[in-house]
């Protein structure tokens, strides 16, 4: 578990460093793969069964394979695919990520002092907050999608540790929702590219008041 925590923290920090969309997507795939590993380890240690391995396999199918594939396909269609931000902006989001890691530990110590697995709970809070930071601070549509999936992964991990996974039918529903959300966001991104010739959401500032 310690290895998992350290590598998850590392990969999420790395996630905030990327400006290039393709590498960021691959990083997301690795992050989801770690979540899937955690899911399988925890599921099988609690006596296997359908509920033991199905969520893990679904995580691999949906979050490790399908979502990165769909995002990469969209990225291929973009001509100028580097995110237009300065290095300072990337450093800001890493700094915010570092703060949110500390904040994650504080939140967990304050709210659930006697909970087991303090490190991994703090990591999941860290992932949720970093996902939010990515959505707020990055302007590229695809980076915002990656932030959303990071946040979702964090919530999923939190649920996994705290409650050993929700009932199977609810988990299936959540997977379906994530799948549809990504399909719709990919459709919207390609429409953004057709209409605005960019996927930078800073151009979306016409509706006011």
């Amino acid at each position: 578990m310690e290895y998992l925590v350290v590598s998850l923290m590392f990969i999420v920090f790395l996630q905030t460093r990327f400006m290039e969309l393709r590498r960021a997507t691959l990083c997301l795939a690795v992050q989801s793969a770690l979540i899937a590993a955690a899911c399988l380890v925890i599921g099988l240690s609690h006596g296997g069964g359908l509920h033991g391995w199905l969520p893990g396999l679904l995580t691999i199918a949906v979050k490790v394979l399908f979502i990165p594939y769909a995002i990469l396909r969209t990225v291929k269609g973009l001509r100028d695919e580097r995110e237009i931000v300065s290095d300072i902006n990337v450093n800001y989001s890493t700094a915010v990520a570092a703060c949110s890691l500390a904040l994650g530990y504080m939140v967990i110590d304050g709210l659930l002092p006697q909970a087991e697995g303090r490190d991994i709970l703090a990591t999941s809070m860290f992932m949720i907050m970093t996902g939010l930071t990515l959505i707020v601070m990055r302007s590229r549509a695809i980076m915002q999608m990656i932030g959303l999936i990071t946040m979702e992964n964090g919530i999923y991990l939190l649920g996994l540790i705290m409650t050993e996974g929700l009932p199977l039918i609810i988990e299936l529903g959540i997977f379906l929702d994530v799948l549809i959300a990504v399909v719709i966001l990919v459709i919207l991104t390609s429409r953004l590219r057709l209409s605005f010739r960019t996927t930078d959401t800073n151009v979306l500032d016409k509706l006011k008041g």
Binding site: L111, M151, I155, P167, G173, L176, I184
Partner: protein
């Protein structure tokens, strides 16, 4: 009972899939859409007549009590009204609306509309709070496609904001649901995971620290979906850029769904989290929501955005009613939900018609409606008076009861603030609305475009609100249903 529930959940997706196949001409599609909605309406009617509010229906997955039946009735009424008016609206939209010169994809529109209503029915009928979350997220995704239906630049912008803000909000609600499940595991074990009935029966056993945390996340999460300030930023854009029929459904039906889910969760959390925290939090958000909406109503120029901000104002009033949490205020919230849904649907429909008639959304360029387009103007005036809460329309009574409950429960600060703010909304909407109706026309409309079938449907919706709002105490069946709904929430 189960057969009606299954009918309710099977007909819309079947119709949607048939519409997606593209085998049918537009004419057949229109009738398919209408007949499906009417069949669903009839089965809801039969369900309501067989239903005894004192004995909720329950099985492994579904649960129907007075509260869910009431919201089902609201949504079904809008669904039937939207399907009967869809034909004339879409034909006009193709002839002189935003879709002019384009091939309208009627099949896609109907399929999305049916799926949208279907996901809302699932929200209302499932027993499990987790599945309720899944269904609410599904409504967000389906309605995103409805908002971006035209794929114009403005529609894309509105949809992107909608889906980002709402999905983040809904993720927080998932976090709240997880905390609730954790509290259940700690206190009651993993049997009947997240089942509303089970949790309701054992609500006192949950850990107060955890339920307070869950309350925080759930109010913020589902509040985002309902459009509470400061998480409302998606709302005016989405309501204004969606096709008008969709805006009416979003404002009337989806918002009622979000408030329904919030109520369901509150019932579980209140016994342990305590009503002081909930009251102060909800009243704060309610006053903030109305306060944010008022300036935008007063200086507004866009005919659909003014309605969107007026929706925010009504959401604020409903949330304040929940915050007051007495039997009177909860009953008034039920009535308010109904009247607001009906009147707002009519207003959005008429706003869409006005945009088609005058070829502009700018209210400053529309004058003299009462002379040039008398039918549309009549509905615009009646709807406006209705949404402002003037008697005899239903909103007058529900607003009055909510205000009186606020003062009765001792929330005089929130109550007086709300009254002042509501006066601001009244001035804003009346000023803009009356300017459009009177004055001398500088711009000639294309004609009175309201179709033959629109008039009775819209008039019926308005009359329903008068009857329900003013006469619910004289309708024994309705009064009984509402009383049981209040008892479910336990105000």
């Amino acid at each position: 009972m189960l057969e009606y529930i299954l009918l309710l959940l099977c007909l819309p997706p079947v119709c949607a899939l048939l519409a997606l196949t593209g085998m049918f001409s537009n004419n057949i599609l229109h009738w398919l859409h209408r007949l499906t909605a009417t069949a669903v309406g009839v089965s809801v009617g039969l369900m309501a007549s067989k239903f005894n509010p004192a004995e909720p229906y329950m099985d492994d997955y579904f649960y129907v009590d007075a509260l869910s039946l009431w919201v089902v009735i609201i949504i079904t009424t809008l669904y039937v009204a939207a399907s009967w008016t869809a034909r004339s609206y879409l034909t006009r939209e193709e002839r002189c609306g935003v879709l002019k010169g384009e091939q309208l994809q009627t099949g896609r529109y109907f399929a999305l509309m049916q799926f949208f209503c279907w996901t809302m029915f699932i929200v209302l009928l499932v027993k499990n709070l987790g599945l309720m979350w899944v269904a609410i997220e599904a409504t967000t995704l389906i309605s995103a496609l409805l908002i971006s239906f035209k794929f114009t630049r403005a529609a894309l912008e509105a949809t992107w904001k909608y889906i980002m803000v709402c999905t983040v909000g809904i993720c927080l609600a998932l976090l709240g649901t997880l905390v609730l499940y954790y509290a259940q595991l700690a206190a009651l074990g993993s049997e009947n995971a997240l089942s509303w009935v089970y949790l309701h029966a054992h609500a006192e056993a949950l850990d107060p620290a955890l339920t307070k945390l869950a309350l925080l996340f759930l109010v913020i999460g589902y509040g985002t979906k309902a459009g509470m300030a400061p998480m409302h930023t998606w709302l005016p854009d989405a309501y204004a850029e969606a096709p008008s029929l969709t805006s009416g459904m979003l404002s009337g039906a989806l918002c009622s769904c979000a408030i329904y889910v919030l109520l369901r969760n509150l019932v579980i959390l209140l016994p342990t989290a305590g009503s002081e925290m909930m009251s102060s939090m909800l009243l704060f958000f309610a006053v903030l929501t109305v306060a944010v909406a008022v300036p935008f109503v007063v200086v507004q120029r866009d005919v659909k955005r003014i309605l969107a901000y007026s929706s925010m104002e009504n959401i604020g009033i409903m949330v304040a009613g929940i915050g007051a949490f007495s039997a009177l205020s909860i009953k008034a919230v039920m009535l308010h939900m109904y009247s607001h849904a009906m009147i707002k649907f009519v207003l959005f429909y008429i706003a869409g018609t006005i945009i088609q008639e005058y070829q502009t959304r700018n209210m400053m360029r529309i004058h003299g409606m009462i002379k040039d387009v008398p039918h549309t103007a009549t509905f615009w005036l009646t709807g406006m008076l209705g949404i402002l809460g003037l008697p005899p329309m239903g909103l007058f009574f529900s607003k009055f009861y909510i205000m009186s409950a606020l003062f009765n429960e001792g929330h005089w600060l929130a109550g007086s603030l709300l009254i002042v703010l509501l006066a601001g909304v009244l001035i804003g909407i009346l000023y803009h609305g009356m300017r459009m109706l009177c004055d001398n026309a500088k711009r000639q409309p294309l004609g009175d475009l309201l179709g033959a079938i629109d008039v009775p449907v819209l008039a019926l919706l308005l009359v329903f609100t008068c009857i329900v709002g003013a006469g619910f105490e004289n309708l024994p069946w309705l009064n009984n249903l509402l009383n049981h709904a209040v008892r479910v929430i336990g105000g």
